[in-house]
Symmetry: C2
Subunit: 261 residues, 2 copies
Amino acid sequence: MRWIKFTAEGRTAYGILEGDRIAEVAGDPFAGYETTSRRHDLAAVKIEVPLIPRTFYAAGLNYVEHVIEGAKKRGETPNIPTKADIGYRAVNALIAHGENVVIPADAGEKIHYEGEIVAVIGKKAKNLSEAEALSCVMGWTIGNDVSERTWQKNDRTFWRGKNTDTFKPMGPWIDTDFDMEAATTNVRLNGEIRTSFATGHMLFSTAHFISVMTRYLTLWPGDVIWLGTDGVSPDLKHGDVVDVEITGLGNLRNTFVREGL
Amino acid sequence: MRWIKFTAEGRTAYGILEGDRIAEVAGDPFAGYETTSRRHDLAAVKIEVPLIPRTFYAAGLNYVEHVIEGAKKRGETPNIPTKADIGYRAVNALIAHGENVVIPADAGEKIHYEGEIVAVIGKKAKNLSEAEALSCVMGWTIGNDVSERTWQKNDRTFWRGKNTDTFKPMGPWIDTDFDMEAATTNVRLNGEIRTSFATGHMLFSTAHFISVMTRYLTLWPGDVIWLGTDGVSPDLKHGDVVDVEITGLGNLRNTFVREGL
């Protein structure tokens, strides 16, 4: 089942996607819903960010090649994480499928994409074993962890480098039946595949992260966990279109524009 | 005016505090409210966390003595921030005035308090000058940025060291008329003042933070900015009671208990 949040006829609502039609619901997938008789064409609605997370978790470094290539680019020794220490991103930066990533006028040239699989939490969870960890996941979506590498390197935190407004595209929908093991993440720049990796080949699995995290913290319905990326991005320029496709799940498309151009 | 969130007679609501009485409202201070005829004794209600932030910002290092003494304790050279780079904390960790901070059984001995003034954002804001920055602040509350220093030092992120469940007491209420310049932050351990500093003597003022932040990000109603602490904390033990008083604003009291004792 695919959950989509959308605006149509001046109203923002959740719906269930059936092919290219949306069955609008009253309520939401977290607190409960009822189906309505309203139907919409997917092509005719404005797709919204699928949810505003309660807490926005992000694994950061969770695929080997990304760690090695990133370190090489910075002239550093790769520091492959030995523990599943989760990080954070900020809600202000979220935008929907189809919206523009706006690069501030004073940003550097190293603007990079990071295509990521995102776990959406549906149930309150604490102290889950790795075997039962995925029981709190209600579905999966796609994220693009856009980064300005100069700020990321030189600021004391990731506040601008990772969390500038519009730097966190997420969507287009939440899929409750996604099969991670069969999936490939393909990132296209202006239509051409530039990064491709097996979505499930992580350093630490989603189940491992959830099990470790819930020893110390409670996961809540509406939390999201972005699970990291592999490979490296070219420097993105004004007008570039980036598609993050995860096979069997969907495609998240955003255009990058530079402020003031 | 003081806004308080509370539970009484099985209902959680916002109210306006008048002396030791609460005038219950329908709605909230962010989206709008109407006063009701219901009144409660402050002493008879359960005080709740004053709000669940949309984004939970934290200045981290923002008072000179805290930076210097912290570095000394770790045997490092003090690294006083030269820029107002904001950080983040996590919503899962919030607890209310009067609730227990629960130290995990496997935590180390270096459990520390950090008494902080907290700005509560009431209006959407982008690109505010320093002169107009405080116009988006609807009020002020108190936070205790509880920290486990061994995890804080050794983990790749602050996920356990700062954001373990219960590590972020906030409250007891939001004061819309607070005068920062006249205020002192007093932190008491079991009734005795152990840390005391001028609340407003920050490295970077609230207005400066907001002005810098809103060059890159949008502040939203319900965001909070924790503004850092001064001084150092003794190691806290099972049964310790910590009061963070900010004069003219209120007192945030929490008891520390160690899991499994």
